[in-house]
Symmetry: C2
Subunit: 721 residues, 2 copies
């Protein structure tokens, strides 16, 4: 009795220590916290199932897999799991490849392994010679690492591991983060502090953050990173910087992450001393080949180039009368022999103002289908404008069957509240991925275009514009971590549901307690729709503040390009509001395949969420709710604000369920978000009211200030420009 | 036997958990780690001495003192110390003021408390009614907080607490950090990431870092912070920003930290709509009064203004034919009724190139002695040029007896290797503080000028240009934390020795194990001299790279101002090297009091460390070592590099003594420092050799590259500009 008491006391000391630790949580550990499993029954089961850890092989990747398993198990199980090179216990966790591990080789997994390819893995429980094995097996070392993270996720989310038979392989080959990071460490559209890359102290100093960044990426299967901004600086291609790039590549390599760079198209002039950057000029071609070879001499597994050309003032092949394929192919040829790829962005628009910017990428790129080299991907944003809170899928998807199209999602919340807004973006990504292009009839989803299955492409890719900076919690807003997580998970398997991804993330990041998980998951699932409603309901788009894109700016007009203003997009007048993209207007709908074009082009059939994207609609038009368009707008804007208030209530109820630091962090930011939501609602309704001349419905909250007040607001030093 | 074994096992689990924690240390916790006391005997003594914690009173400051004691004791003792409002145990830790705490009031400390003033405290052990008390007593709540940190420091450094009788009060009133932080979060001369102040998310979002920043400052007695760059932006004085400033002030207030702002002298024009900023213009005076009142409406305990005027292009009173006193007094009048102060910088130089920039501050300010308002401090850098690796003390110290002079030290390592160099700066600070001005005869040290004792000033101050940024470890280099710590400790008590401060810091930051403390302390104590030797030995100064100040640039010449070049300062020619500041030259020595002037002005008596600061010396001049000046230069430069290599060895021996993360961090940076030291040595020796025409002594390492190579280096995007 006394003994038990004493031990209990000791345990309490441990627990007190432990809870001290959680008190001061700053979010740095992301979803890789490896806190001890809370469910005592599960904990006992896990402890019994893992008496010993065997990782045979000592490549850099297997070494980090081994370390990760050791560290994680020690945290999750609250006890050290001994490592061994041979089986000495009853219940053994084995990780390895048939090549590195005799144990794995002899477990009879050969056939099943064939199916998971170069990056996939098996998680399998089996019994042999009276011993129980939990096996993480793969054909390659990186597959073992991915499998290890999957296995750890099962423990982190308290899943049953007693009878595992999981095979997993990525649906998309290149799963890449795009960092819009400048060499001075500012980040274009970055709201999480400044760039992780401390160029000045590279190559000599490898920050632990680089390793932890790689660990986080590997844990969700991200296998590439473009280090630099698409608005590129050619200096990164000079020797001094390539040494720094190489140091990062060395740090990332064990985690299966390839490094890519943005190629400034005019680099041959700026750092090469040439007079032209014409892609058909042999000197230019030779320069890029030599430069690429130099890069490979520093980074033998260099991934290739990402290029923004002839877009928003960036140089490109059109400066020389050439087309995008000419430019992309030149770079592709320069890296082809080393296995490199070129990701050529379709986010382009010409110097001339178009009748509809939404049509430009399609108009420029569709005719080039079939003219790109085999190692070129055309990288297409999810929608045709620019990462708006909601866009219908980009009409290029399905329209270039001979060209692998790479998806570009934006994780950083340029148009989604930036650094102060809780936005779980999986539902938005899924909306695009699941959209049906009808390119080859019903079921020709965007996802199938991107994963190559629709047009039988082996070369596939997906990019996420990173939301990561040097803030202590990486992403500025604690919940923005979920979008980094989601991007990786969907890039690996776009069939995952938003709910499942949220469920995993919450459990790994906060707690498995369902009293927390369920309401917080609901809050996340509704968060994107709330933002759309208080910012750009019913298909409105591009009505944000000038230049910094922070806050509402539906009144923006008279700039040097009409298609950079707001009035160009909402086209509000006394009759109604919305961009007519039907036959009577720009006819952008015609870029979609007929079944889609027909639906989107019909004001009665278009999904209401895209109504004003495609149609100029009279103020008194009756919408699905039975309300007039004007009243519906007012209710949507107000409903968005109400939703944020509901999120606040939900969150406030969680106090005590998690550490105080992260609780307060989110609570404060939700307060700011509520203020910003009201700002959007009031500013937009007052502005649009000057056209509609109709009252805001009586039962809705009245604007707090005048339109003049909102128009006078001029926030300075907004981050991310 | 079995019971003991089981408990031992449980203990091991605890320890394993604990060591997991230390493995991943990123330095965020600074010297406030509160790890469990390592010495088991001491731990037992401490546990016995503190059975209960009583903090009576619930002001914000007492609340944070209470929290800090609770959290710290729980960590240090490895067990929770129960808090109570009355004595229930045998051995009690009591903290409070006579006003807040009946216990404290009745312990008979009244007389001794009188002596410690508004910020001081007593730490006292005593016995009453059979109970043993450890008392932290003060006249004010902030004194209690300071005393609490002192008490915790005793435990953190494993001191005897059985018989305490300590009285402590600060020697200097205003102990202030100067942040050279811009509103876009860049930091001028910042090498630790970017500004802590996330202006965009203020006032709504209070980052936990603000609280931890305040805790760290309070723990060393820093009681003020100037939030913004001396190269000021008037926008911070507008209402939008004042709301943000108020939020920071609210966060800092419980920790006794007042907020100050930099006042851009032309603000009345830029944000006030006036046509002039003439300090004698009644409209301008009224504008500043109104603006100050507005600031106080947001921040009732606003500290006042720091001003850089008529210096390096900043606007100031001289633009209107007025002098520095006119400018300072106008601002002083604007804040006087609220108790504000003005810190007016003496770091000035006119548009015209002087014969010797070192003389300018003295020439401009000495005549103004006695003309400043009572609430003005003139803030003087430690030396007359600009924070060089070593400077003789500024001749203004002692020269303005009627004016309180505030010391300005630089913590950020603008000229001391920036973000990659291990430099413990206490010896440098102490060298200045202990320098004898002879203003009132022998013993008239700079410290006595600054602490007011020499000229009987009540208003006293000391400023440190902060080295803090948003890097995870706050200061970029782990060891740069020691300079933040040192600044606070010396500001409180400049009589502390550098060894003692280093000893405290090492023990609190790393470990109390003397196998670590002793060699690391030696390394720190020698670090500044090593840098001086490989950068600017023997009194050389201002020979760094252009603009960014990174790396050597002794060849810098032909810029638009001669006194921004290097050749202006080293004056190397075929005869010799050094700046003649004696009678035969600029006669800057005459600005010192005669005994000093006589010593510095005599090439045979001047301390060798200042030789080339005051004298142009022939290459074959024999120095103390018996070597020629040229050979001595070569040996000094080489010796500095050797010292860094010795530091590397010392550090490498510590592997395993501390967590691997911080060990590797420092190890990597020492490798970079060794490369930079060689760069300085080789570049400077090769360059000066073009004048001396003498060989580098045979036994010294030869330069790795040619002078042309070093002159061609052109690092881009150096941080901190």
């Amino acid at each position: 009795m006394q003994r038990k008491l004493f031990c209990l006391l000791l345990l309490l000391v441990c627990l007190a220590y432990h809870s001290e630790g959680t008190k001061a949580d700053d979010g740095y550990k992301l979803w890789q916290r490896y806190e001890q499993v809370q469910d005592q029954a599960k904990l006992q089961v896990y402890r019994q199932a893992i008496n010993e850890l065997i990782v045979q092989g000592n490549s850099p990747t297997l070494t980090v897999a081994h370390q990760e398993l050791q560290t994680a198990l020690s945290g999750l199980l609250g006890q050290t799991v001994p490592s061994s090179q041979q089986v000495t216990k009853q219940n053994v966790l084995v990780a390895g490849t048939p090549a590195s591990s005799a144990l794995v080789k002899n477990l009879g997994l050969t056939d099943r392994l064939k199916a998971v390819g170069n990056e996939g893995y098996l998680l399998q429980t089996s019994t042999k010679n009276g011993k129980n094995y939990t096996v993480i097996a793969a054909n390659t070392d990186i597959g073992v690492l991915y499998g290890s993270y999957h296995f750890l996720r099962l423990l982190q989310t308290q899943q049953d591991i007693s009878n595992l038979s999981i095979a997993s392989a990525p649906k998309i080959k290149h799963r890449v983060l795009n960092h819009w990071d400048n060499l001075d460490r500012t980040v274009e559209r970055g709201y999480s502090g400044f760039s992780l890359w401390d160029w000045h102290r590279l190559p000599g100093y490898i920050d632990q953050r680089y390793i932890d960044y790689a660990r986080a990426n590997a844990s969700v299967g991200i296998n590439g990173t473009v280090l630099t901004n698409v608005n590129a600086n050619a200096l990164v291609l000079t020797e001094d910087y390539l040494k720094k790039v190489a140091a990062l590549a060395d740090a990332f390599r064990p985690y299966g992450i390839k490094v890519y760079l943005t190629a400034r198209f005019s680099a041959p002039i700026e750092i090469g001393g040439l007079k032209t950057a014409d892609p058909l000029d042999p000197q230019v071609q030779a320069w890029w080949k030599k430069k690429s070879d130099e890069i490979y001499s520093f980074v033998p597994d260099f991934g290739g180039f990402l290029v923004k050309a002839n877009s928003e003032g960036q140089p490109g092949p059109q400066n020389y009368g050439r087309n995008h394929a000419d430019g992309a192919n030149m770079l592709a040829d320069a890296v082809a022999d080393k296995g490199g790829i070129v990701m050529w962005r379709a986010f382009v628009y010409s110097e001339d103002e178009p009748d509809d910017r939404a049509k430009q990428a399609y108009n420029e790129f569709k005719p080039l289908d079939g003219t790109f080299r085999d190692n070129v991907l055309v990288q297409v944003k999810n929608g045709a404008i620019d990462f708006q809170p909601r866009e219908p899928f980009h009409p290029l998807f399905g329209a270039m069957p001979k060209t692998p199209l790479m998806m570009e999602f934006q994780l950083t919340q340029e148009y989604l509240g930036q650094g102060t807004t809780l936005a779980y973006l999986s539902p938005m990504y899924k909306e695009t991925l699941e959209a049906d292009t009808y390119a080859k009839g019903k079921g020709s989803t965007v996802a199938k275009v991107v994963d190559g299955s629709l047009d039988n492409h082996k070369l596939t890719g997906i990019a996420g514009v990173a939301n990561i900076g040097n803030d202590r919690n990486w992403t500025g807003h604690q919940f923005a971590q979920s979008n980094w997580y989601t991007f990786g998970r969907l890039a690996w398997d776009h069939a995952l549901s938003s709910e499942q991804v949220a469920d995993e993330w919450i459990k790994m990041t906060f707690t498995n307690d369902n009293k927390f998980v369920a309401p917080v998951k609901d809050m996340m699932m509704n968060s994107h729709e709330a933002i759309v409603n208080y910012m750009t309901p019913l298909g409105l788009h591009h009505i944000m503040g000038w230049s910094h894109h922070y806050g509402p700016g539906p009144w923006i007009k008279d700039k040097h390009r009409a298609d950079w203003t707001s009035v160009y997009y909402h086209k509000a007048d006394e009759k109604g509001i919305g961009f007519d993209r039907t036959k009577s207007g720009s006819n952008a709908v015609a870029q979609y395949f007929p079944p889609v074009a027909k639906q989107f082009g019909n004001v009665k059939k278009v999904p209401e969420k895209y109504l004003l994207w495609f149609h100029h609609v009279p103020w008194d038009h009756k919408v699905n709710s039975g309300r007039t368009l004007w009243n519906e707008l007012a209710y949507r804007y107000s409903g968005g604000v109400d939703d944020v208030r509901q999120m606040q209530k939900t969150w406030d109820n969680q106090e005590g369920m998690i550490d105080q630091e992260r609780f307060q962090h989110v609570k404060q930011l939700l307060t700011v978000q509520e203020q910003e939501a009201k700002w959007w609602r009031d500013a937009c309704l007052l502005y649009f009211q000057t056209f509609s001349k109709r009252p805001i419905p009586q039962d809705l909250e009245k604007p707090a200030h005048t339109l003049e007040y909102y128009m006078s607001l001029d926030p300075k030093f907004v981050p991310g420009i």
